[in-house]
């Protein structure tokens, strides 16, 4: 059975990464209120992000068409949802990590389910699928491959994170 061999705190990792980034949304507060109906549907922050982030994950990490359709094109609302997720996401991921560490199948099922639901709001397919895989493992009570699945989930979350931050910055700047 695979077990993690070193201390791992996803929340601390994400918070540390966020501190390195300019324009941290946690410090900047909620996005500015304004009418957005005339804005272009296609966000420009995907291109902007690719200039400053180490890797351009925007198109892969999030389906903007899906995410914007879900909020009926309201980018301001999407940015607020992102802000909320930037706060709650590390905790959700940490709960998954902790459930695996405890070999708590039921806990893993619920923690992975919660994370899956949240990332689903952004059309974040990779993260959603990775969380679903862990949810199924938890439900089936077999955590043999949970460590591997967790690493996949964590990678997806690391890709999602800067994309959502970039969206927030874009909305705040506009």
């Amino acid at each position: 059975m695979l077990r993690n061999t070193e201390p791992h705190n996803p929340q601390a990792v994400f918070l540390a990464e966020r501190q390195k980034r300019p324009g941290d949304p946690a410090q900047a507060g909620t996005p500015q209120k304004e009418k957005l109906s005339e804005k272009q549907k296609r966000p420009i922050f995907i291109q902007e992000e690719s200039k400053e982030a180490p890797v351009n994950h925007g198109e892969e990490a999030v389906s903007w068409d899906e995410a914007l359709a879900r909020v009926e094109g309201d980018r301001e609302l999407l940015a607020e949802m992102a802000a909320l997720f930037l706060d709650s996401g590390p905790g959700l991921l940490a709960a998954v990590r902790e459930a695996i560490d405890r070999q708590d199948a039921s806990g893993l099922e619920h923690a992975a389910h919660d994370l899956k639901s949240s990332v689903g709001n952004f059309g974040a397919r990779k993260a959603q699928e990775a969380a679903l895989k862990l949810e199924k493992m938890g439900r089936g009570g077999d955590l043999t491959h949970a460590e591997e699945a967790y690493r996949s989930l964590e990678r997806s979350m690391r890709q999602l994170w800067p994309v959502l931050e970039a969206m927030q910055r874009s909305e705040q700047a506009s």
Binding site: S88, H113, S117, G120, E135
Partner: protein, 128 residues
């Protein structure tokens, strides 16, 4: 009209409450099962949107309680779930849920469902 949104996913509740307010509803939000039950009794909403997997008890328990109480049994309940259990939909309908929708929520489907349950058109709801 009043709607109670009960879901522990704050991203989801933000989206739902924002969109439903845009449609003219007065929205109350509950983040766990106990809050959901109390809010249903207190606010007597016209409809309830209920996630069945919440902490503080479960959404299923809330659904049972809502349908068992004379104070809330007539309130239409739309259950939301990202459950991987294929029997979830039939299970909650057996418990009295009026509709079951998968997460992530398709807002157009939710609007259509609410329109049917409340006898309104969500293009022009009648806010109180």
């Amino acid at each position: 009209m009043k709607i109670l949104v009960a879901d522990d996913d704050r991203v989801q509740t933000l989206m739902l409450s924002s969109r439903l307010k845009e449609k003219g509803f007065k929205v109350t939000v509950a983040y766990d099962a106990i809050q959901a039950w109390m809010a249903a009794i207190k606010t007597q909403p016209d409809a309830i949107i209920l996630d069945i997997q919440m902490p503080g008890g479960t959404g299923v328990a809330v659904l049972k309680q809502l349908k068992a109480s004379t104070k809330t049994s007539q309130i239409p309940v739309v259950v939301l779930s990202g459950s991987i259990d294929p029997k979830a939909a039939s299970m909650v309908k057996d418990l009295g849920a009026d509709e079951f929708l998968n997460k992530p929520v398709d807002m157009n489907l939710l609007y259509r469902t609410l329109s049917l349950l409340l006898g309104i058109s969500l293009e022009s709801p009648e806010p109180h």
